[in-house]
Point group: C2
């Protein structure tokens, strides 16, 4: 195909032509099926039950969708039947890390939450010890999924996916952000400290999802830099919106306890900037994410744009 | 070198020529230095302190020594100055998994231990929440160490090391064994159930250490099978000896509370086989380990033989 034809094809791929719900549904089903196949069917002594309870049939699967959208944008297959194996594994691995972090976060020594998505949390249902082990085993399984002993995923891609996920999950990513969060209760953070906390706690894994998707294809340096900027913007936006919803939504809509951050005297964007400026900031981050995509040189970024829009304009 | 000369060289490498203490000391120092460099110097909010406290200056470093001994046996460098980078990273990664498992194991919802190697356990020193996060971050760091963004370790080796470690640590390995252990308190296990529990709980990571060391070289299929059998034998022997020491040693020698398993009504080899038969079984496993090495076709297995001997004949 000549460049002109590609440009024309690209120009015709307007966001308005794109139905995120349809795009997402097919991919969510594929991820759900893969998770059901892969999450520890043979784990002993009730451990598998706890792991599956923590992972299956829950959540919007935002992180897997980001992996798949980025993978497709950089040239992975867009067809659900011929799913890129690396991208599917990366999508599931990221979700396992997210799921394990929720299991451990909910434990009594952390947030002490008894409900998650309307169901008893894992430690309430299976006991604290098994919840601890289930979280630990889910993290290991994430890396196991990324390293199949087959030729389906090139070893260079396997190694890069492991590196990206380890960096996003560890002390320089999610776990580090949680540690800052722990240390911040009742402490006055300024905006840059708050941003740093959220960049690690929530942003690293969201951005990591985008970068893992990109690693499943062969993006240009320009595309990679753009996707990194996109990931950073939506990662931060996700948390700003979380803080907004904590004060504007009710518990039933949220599926978790509203007003909890304020009750626990946790620093939030709303407590720091106020509600109106927080809302404006979220929209500004959405603009940044879309500008990054425009500068990416990628031809079809509709799914990524629609996901950014969903992150910022969601109601729960 | 002709085969005859190699055979002669091999025959001259008797265990009696080999000083395990000297061999170990150089490698322990190198591992200690690497861990000190790599364990999260920049982690935020006290998280790095907890991670370093959990890892540095502790233990015999048996797992790293197994990685290095296996790596050297299959043709990695035996010289400390030109350490095989992959093997050093694998040695440290295995130790991080071991260290994180101890941190989580010691927590109140698991074994509720307040002392480890004569020091307050991580949750006693840093609080439960930070102990939980430190363990989580140590597991992520293990995979980060295995996937350096450099040409120092070939991507095929990186991917294989991640796979071996994930399998050894997860629900089909260490975490699975801990789940069986949890479910076994006060339950009568037969010998095959007890062996399965320990094969996973302790054995998988010890055997995994050997296999990760082997993955840093290019072993023959014969050597790989032999090393796998060696790893399985010492993995099991380690636990049999642990059970023996729990009743024969005092707490001061052990560095942990003696007699604890019996007090908690946990199934052990001693409770199942009696002391004398347990001791005979440990010696039988040592014979099996050495026979595997003899069948390996490898020329210098002195370090592996000496480590097996240490595992079985240790006093703490």
């Amino acid at each position: 195909m000549s460049e002109t034809v590609l440009d024309m094809a690209s120009a015709s791929l307007k966001a308005t032509d794109f139905d995120l719900a349809v795009w997402s549904r097919a991919r969510q089903l594929r991820v759900e099926q893969a998770l059901s196949d892969w999450v520890a069917p043979d784990a002993p002594a009730g451990l598998g039950d706890a792991m599956r309870y923590a992972v299956l049939d829950g959540g919007k699967r935002l992180r897997p969708l980001l992996v798949l959208a980025a993978s497709e944008a950089v040239g992975g297959s867009t067809s659900v039947v011929s799913f890129n194996e690396a991208a599917l594994r990366a999508a599931c691995a990221v979700e396992l890390i997210h799921a394990y972090s929720l299991v451990h976060d909910d434990m009594p020594c952390m947030d002490n939450d008894v409900l998650r998505r309307g169901k008893p949390t894992v430690h309430v249902r299976f006991g604290e010890a098994r919840a601890l082990l289930a979280g630990d085993a889910l993290q290991a399984l994430a890396f196991e999924l990324l390293t199949p002993d087959e030729a389906t995923v090139p070893p260079t891609v396997q190694a890069q996916l492991c590196r990206l996920l380890a960096l996003a999950a560890g002390s320089g990513g999610m776990a580090g952000g949680q540690a800052i969060d722990l240390a911040s209760v009742g402490v006055k953070l300024n905006e840059s400290q708050l941003r740093e906390m959220h960049r690690l706690k929530t942003g690293a894994l969201l951005q990591g999802s985008v970068m893992m998707g990109a690693a499943c294809g062969a993006p240009s340096a320009q595309a990679l830099a753009a996707l990194s900027a996109y990931g950073a913007a939506i990662g931060l936006a996700f948390q700003v919106v979380d803080d907004i919803l904590d004060v504007t939504a009710d518990s039933a809509t949220l599926g978790k306890t509203a007003g909890k951050d304020a009750d626990q005297d946790k620093p939030t964007y709303v407590s720091l900037l106020g509600l109106a400026r927080s809302q404006a900031y979220a929209q500004e981050l959405l603009v940044q994410a879309n500008e990054a995509l425009q500068a990416s040189g990628l031809h079809d970024t509709r799914a990524l744009r629609a996901l950014a829009d969903m992150v910022v304009n969601r109601v729960n």
